[in-house]
Amino acid sequence: MRQRGWTSWRILRALSLFIGYGFVLGPVLPVVYNAFNASPIFPAPFEGLTLEWFRSVVTSEQYMSGAIVSIEVGIGATALALVIGVCAAFAVVRGPAWIRGGAATSLLMGPIVIPQIVIGLAILEAASQLSFRLGLAGLIIAHAVFVSPFIIRVVAGALEVQGSNLESAAMVLGSRRTAVLFTLTLPMLRPAIVASAVFAFTLSFVNVPLSLFLSPSNLRPLPIVIYQEMINTRTPVLAAVSILLAFVLLLATGLAEKVFRVRILQ
């Protein structure tokens, strides 16, 4: 049995599902089938199944060293951004009135709204004027600056929701302010911290614009290797490496969920 009068709502809902999923996942589909496509050209019409391209990725020294650089940068940037982001979140939620609230949070979103390509160029130029050689550290710092706003957003939101009642209760129960921070406030923020860290790592891992300017020639992160390959030779290996990348990130997220017992994907 069905109630009358819901038809237009049902149509709208079906349409939104179709548009939503279609537009988000649609563009990914050609990448998926090209990764398994026997044709040596990318992109190309389907010619037959093969796993050859995946084998090329795994055996390629270029891609593998790129992946290692990306992991190093990702972990370094995430760790640094966590320190910066959690501190900033506390400042925004618990700081004195003039630094607190929506305006302050928006200001700290700066690194997201300024084009990364400009930030990359600016850091590069500043470093060269100071005759400062940017190595892995420079890349890590630049990535950390870019991803920390995402951490601030998530952690500040969680801190806001958490409120201060629990902390008051803990202080009245005899715990000093710092003890409360480490036994209560931070443990309670753990899900937000883990989720935002995974997000930050992912963003750093796939970042192109900052790395393009700031990675030294001997330390190329994976996305830069892909970018250069794309300019030089267009083979389905590109599709295969992309699929592997997505798969590994998904796996890492799932692992983080299991290890830290938090929900990230749902």
């Binding site: 009245v172 129960l173 715990s175 003890a179 036994t183």
Partner: protein, 358 residues
């Protein structure tokens, strides 16, 4: 589990956030082991007082003493208090047992001892079965019990309860109220609790401080607050008394209360002669009153409403300038029809002369 309970003294406490005082010159003294209720509507400053006692808020003036010790400028963690919030504020990432144990942590007890003490407290509140459960899995009444156990575990000098029952539904609230009161009495800790619910205050407290606009209107025992209020505000807020405006006169050693053309004989009055109000509880107003009711009026029924066991009747009394008088009587066979005229009245001993609001 008796402990040496301590007295609590607040002297001339003022709190000002910069927009005028929230609390001004508030003073109160609670004897060791007694329960004080701060009763008032929201915004009257009662929770502010609680935060001052807890040390979560520093007053702009005044002092807080536990026993003879000045605690005014001590941080919350040095005050040795128990605090129960309306939201219960259980730590969601810790089990029930670890929650109760939390307050013992700063005491540097041996793990074994603190766990034993926590289990003892859980037994006191009948929650031993839930020791290893996380608070999110508890019902309202259960988390209330755990919050109480946690507050009492470190043997606090003073127990503070902030609207502890208002998050529970009606039936449970009454049960928890009785249970918590019994436990607090058993432990014998000096207690201050904040509520807007007069029933709660009347049934639990030894002393009630009726608060309004950041100060105490009246401080007295529950019986006196209810039966012998001194202020019109108290009479109206607690028990919803009818208030008749008039003048208190003394003639030949007898008190009389003049309201309009009517003059009523009064048993006793603690006030000087002059403008005052006469307060009568709705349940003391009788319809077609028996002869012992000395104050009697002709009145027309204006409104009648059904409240389960009771009925609430609103009467207009012409000889009191059309003043509305509310009566509450047990629902009986008798039906009153709106528009009917009856005689209403009350015993002169049930009429209390109270001071007018400033």
């Amino acid at each position: 589990m008796t402990q040496t309970a301590q007295s609590l003294t607040l002297e001339d406490i003022s709190v000002d956030y910069g927009r005028g005082p929230v609390v001004a010159n508030f003073s109160v003294h609670v004897e060791p082991g007694k329960i004080l209720a701060l009763l008032g509507q929201s915004g009257c400053g009662k929770s502010t007082i609680l935060r001052v006692i807890a040390g979560l808020l520093t007053p702009s003036a005044g002092s807080v003493h536990f026993g003879a010790t000045d605690m005014t400028l001590r941080p919350p963690w040095e005050r040795n208090l128990g605090l129960m919030f309306q939201s219960h504020a259980l730590f969601p990432h810790l089990t029930v047992l670890r929650n109760v144990e939390y307050g013992l942590r700063p005491k540097k007890m041996a793990k074994k001892d603190s766990e034993r003490r926590a289990l003892e407290m859980l037994e006191l509140v009948h929650m031993t079965r839930y020791a290893n459960v996380h608070p999110t899995e508890l019902s309202g009444g259960q988390s209330q019990r755990v919050a109480l156990a946690r507050a009492l575990a470190p043997e606090p000098r003073v127990l503070l309860l902030d609207e502890p029952f208002s998050s529970l539904d009606a039936g449970l609230r009454e049960r928890m109220r009785a249970e918590v009161a019994a436990i607090v009495r058993q432990v014998g800790v000096t207690t201050v609790f904040v509520t807007h619910d007069q029933d709660e205050a009347l049934s639990i407290a030894d002393m009630i401080a009726v608060m309004s606009a950041g100060n105490i209107v009246e401080l007295a025992s529950p019986r006196d607050i209810y039966k012998r209020p001194r202020h019109a505000y108290t009479a109206a807020f607690v028990g919803g008394s009818n208030l008749i405006k008039g003048e208190l006169c003394a003639a030949n050693g007898a008190w009389r209360f003049k309201a309009g053309d009517t003059e009523l004989a009064i048993r006793e009055a603690n006030l000087a002669a002059g403008p005052a109000m006469l307060a009568i509880k709705p349940e003391d107003v009788a319809v077609d009153p028996p002869p012992e009711c000395q104050h009697r009026f002709r009145a027309r029924l204006e409104e009648a409403s059904f409240h389960g066991p009771n009925q609430r009747l609103v009467w207009l009394v012409e000889s009191l300038d059309g003043k509305a008088i509310v009566s509450r009587t047990v629902n009986s066979q008798r039906d009153f029809r709106v528009g009917d005229t009856h005689e209403i009245g009350w015993k002169s001993s049930d009429a209390v002369v109270v001071e007018m609001d400033q």
